[in-house]
Symmetry: C2
Subunit: 344 residues, 2 copies
DNA sequence: TTGTATGCGTTATCAT
DNA sequence: ATGATAACGCATACAA
């Protein structure tokens, strides 16, 4: 169905002029009589004429659409990033096509494909936990197709990324715990193959090392799923032996931290007097928990904005000298200190 | 740029056959020799040929794309709905173009327009708080353009919507508070012009009436913004006079409930012994609060799925007899009882 | 100042 | 079994 959308053809027929004249009149081309122009514009208005963006895409080989691929939409951090993306895209007249992979590699492949089929002008990606082969992205980069990675960066040549300083964020969090007098700090590690997890882990290690504290390898436990239940189970195990357990937790994400707190409270530990907890991401609920959860805030909205701005620069083929040499933009995190780690 | 995408033209040239033959070969049309077919398919594979979806859209007047308009992306409920939408769309081979209005009417207008310009096949909408004029949607419906509203339904003819039973949800919540022995229940009302707010309010009124309790109009306070701060401010006022204040709160959303709890704790009330609190939406953080917040759960993911399924039915012009007569699908809510309202 | 013709990638109609 | 051509809606090089 056409839903009664008028085309320049309709206008041309009605006015007994050619389509090219209509086209030019509508776009204020030089060398067109004021009379015709007015006539055309008036009718266009009446008919509620709107240019067909699909036809334009085909003609100009440009869709004013960017693709966005995220692991999950229902995720405070990612939805915040998406929001930032949408804002900048909207401001520049771009549309946003959204795909979620549910952390599945196969779905990532499909999504990239259909987005390309739809001739997006560029792609913003945070890849899935499963993704270890990046050739589908490398292929794009080799073709010089505009891609910007956010949060999760692949280690492939010529990639452009926006990330937060995960190492520094983790370092500060652990440093803070140490400053509060905690000595036996364990780490709830995120999915192993994600660079963000590795960097947070390294920040944790470095902070301990710099403070002259020993790293206990058994106290670095992976939370591959990142659910409340997983974290509660892990916490129960680690804190089973009250005489030989950590006195603080630095968790790679807030859900894990929340699960830990629930579990610790159930066991009967007092927080932060006996156990200190710091999370990562500063989810919306962090401040509403009891005790309020200290967390490393990530500027998600800003990340979405930056990534989109970078992408649009690349699309417009005017990469800024300031951004291109490094190919990676690192945003600052901010440690939000609340009562879960603050011994007065 | 073309990014080296092969077209049927390229294949035709290389094989010295016509484009129509290529087109037919690729689509297993009858009346094409096995030899040619194999030849074409082989080369297509080699060249990594993929049909240009934009060209197809133009040709077939169908984009396999649906538009989604939400007030805010960073909102637990809406992001959950979006996720459900994306799942069903993906399963049916549809793309999702996402727009957020930031609760602005003007932006809603623009978004509808650009989505139409891009020839989406259908539209899923939850309109903004500001929207009181629905003519931009009515126009679409008059043209028989496929639209499905979710969560926020306009009162216009021929509209199709998916909502939850806000009245029943509210009714149950208040009934539960009454059953727990609370008598002086106040209501934190959502934005006045939203039907969902009105229905929740009515559920509140009816539950009180059915229990023979008086409705105190001063205890129905609007929270138009829906922020933590707003709710805390309101709570401080209402509960200032300990001798003449409510003994329970039924809030139209969980953020308001969370703000209330924070404020109440600060004032020194014990929850739920002195004051009971029930929220609406069952946000992710509800169970992590202290005390855990009772709330009316809305099936957001299901809503997204249902709305999309309905939309696709309309697009495919095979409306189910079961769904069309009513034009409105009502999903059940579920009261999740936690400690914020549970007197043992 | 305006019109004609061509092409973007694809499918469909009509020939051959 | 295959090819030529028009059409989807628009922009533009070239004519007039």
């Amino acid at each position: 169905m056409n839903f009664g959308q008028a085309t320049i053809k309709d206008i041309a027929k009605e006015l007994n002029i050619s389509v090219s004249t209509v086209s030019r009149a509508l776009k204020d081309y030089p060398g067109i009589s004021k009379k015709t122009k007015d006539k055309v514009k008036k009718l266009a208005e009446e008919l509620n004429y709107r240019p067909n963006a699909v036809a334009l895409s085909l003609r100009k080989n440009k869709s004013f659409t960017i693709g966005v691929i995220v692991p999950e939409i229902v995720h405070f951090f990612f939805s915040t990033v998406i929001s930032g993306i949408e804002e900048v895209a909207f401001k520049h007249g771009y549309n946003v096509v959204l795909c979620q992979t549910n952390e599945k590699f196969s779905r990532e492949i499909t999504s990239v494909q259909t987005l390309l089929d739809n001739r997006i002008d560029g792609l913003l990606v945070s890849f899935s936990k499963e993704t270890v082969d990046f050739s589908h992205f490398a292929d794009l980069l080799n073709k010089n197709f505009p891609v910007v990675f956010f949060d999760r960066t692949p280690d492939i040549p010529n990639s452009v990324s926006v990330i937060v300083d995960d190492h520094e964020g983790a370092y500060q969090a652990v440093q803070h715990l140490i400053a509060q007098g905690f000595q036996k700090i364990c780490h709830y590690l995120g999915p192993q193959n994600l660079p963000i997890s590795q960097k947070r882990l390294q920040g944790y290690r470095d902070a301990l090392a710099d403070a002259g504290l020993q790293v206990v390898e058994d106290w670095i436990v992976e939370c591959p799923i990142g659910s409340l239940e997983e974290s509660m189970g892990i916490t129960q195990k680690i804190f089973k032996d009250k005489n030989n357990c950590p006195d603080a937790i630095f968790a790679s994400n807030d859900i894990a931290a929340a699960g830990a707190i629930q579990s610790l409270k159930k066991i009967g530990f007092s927080i932060p007097d006996e156990i200190g907890v710091v999370g990562f991401s500063n989810w919306q609920f962090s401040e509403m928990m009891e005790p309020p959860l200290s967390s490393v805030a990530q500027p998600g909205f800003l990340m979405g904005e930056k990534a989109t701005e970078l992408l649009l620069e690349i699309i417009d083929e005017k990469p800024q000298l300031t951004t291109m040499p490094s190919k990676i933009e690192v945003l600052k995190t901010e440690l939000i200190i609340r009562n879960s780690s603050l011994r007065k």
